[in-house]
Assembly symmetry: C2
Homo-oligomer: 153 residues x 2
């Protein structure tokens, strides 16, 4: 009798994710960054002026949890909050945020290469499509909607 869990996509998904996450965090440790920090920085660079709550929606982080998270990045001088409304705050990278992101991006690339490298060459092209499909809500088309307005829960 062999491990019945090893045929379950959900189980494999969880284990693969947590292993990859731990590995990425270890790789990022020298930069004193965590995976979520880099995601935030990459997002802020890609969409300058993105609102704090919009960023939360894209990243799947709740409004409440965005507060200390963004505060932390701001206190490190990587991110800046600019009042756009009297209620909304746009996020943008500082110069040092951009510089650190440059280094972080190299780490992420190495991590990605390591991940893909574990997959038999023939299967590599399907990795991203498979993961995208498994993550129901994450289709490319959805994102536009998410960024612009809420009610896309």
């Amino acid at each position: 009798m062999q491990d019945p869990l090893l045929n379950l996509a959900g189980y494999l998904l969880r284990r693969a994710s947590s292993a990859a996450l731990a590995e990425l965090n270890a790789r990022l440790a020298p930069l004193d960054l965590r995976h979520a920090d880099v995601a935030m920085l990459m997002l802020a660079e890609a969409w300058p002026g993105l609102t704090q709550s919009a960023a939360g929606r894209v990243l799947g982080i709740q409004r409440a949890n965005m507060v200390p998270f963004v505060e932390h990045l701001e206190r490190r001088g990587l991110l800046r909050r600019r009042q756009v409304d009297r209620r909304s705050q746009a996020l943008e990278l500082t110069r040092s945020g951009r510089m650190l992101l440059k280094r972080a991006r190299r780490v992420v690339s190495a991590h990605e290469a390591a991940l893909l490298g574990r997959v038999p060459p023939g299967l590599r092209p399907v990795v991203v499509p498979v993961l995208t499909a498994l993550w129901q809500g994450g289709a490319l088309r959805d994102v536009q909607r998410r960024v612009r307005g809420p009610s896309a829960g």
Copy 2:
């Protein structure tokens, strides 16, 4: 400019995993079980007499965290600890554990079907191979080693 995160296997892995996990937990809520509980029950059934620490190694749960975890299942009458050594404890399902697992397994199957159903039919056969490959440490061959003895962590 589109979301740069959506091309990263690591990011997609994390989002897909957390979405699937949340969904599974919601499905299991009526049984008052969480995903880890079911994994433990399935493991205990597949390998009767499995030691507590061995189970922890297989599931990637640390010894320290196994204690309250197993205690909880034992207090619910789903699992029993049997002294095998004067230091080791074997885990085995109780009758009611087996019965609940039966129901849980149906929930898990439905969840798996939902996951796979999101993937284009042509890609379905590669889902498990891709995830297995991405989860470096989880290859089938490793598991035997993990269960029998330590020093494989």
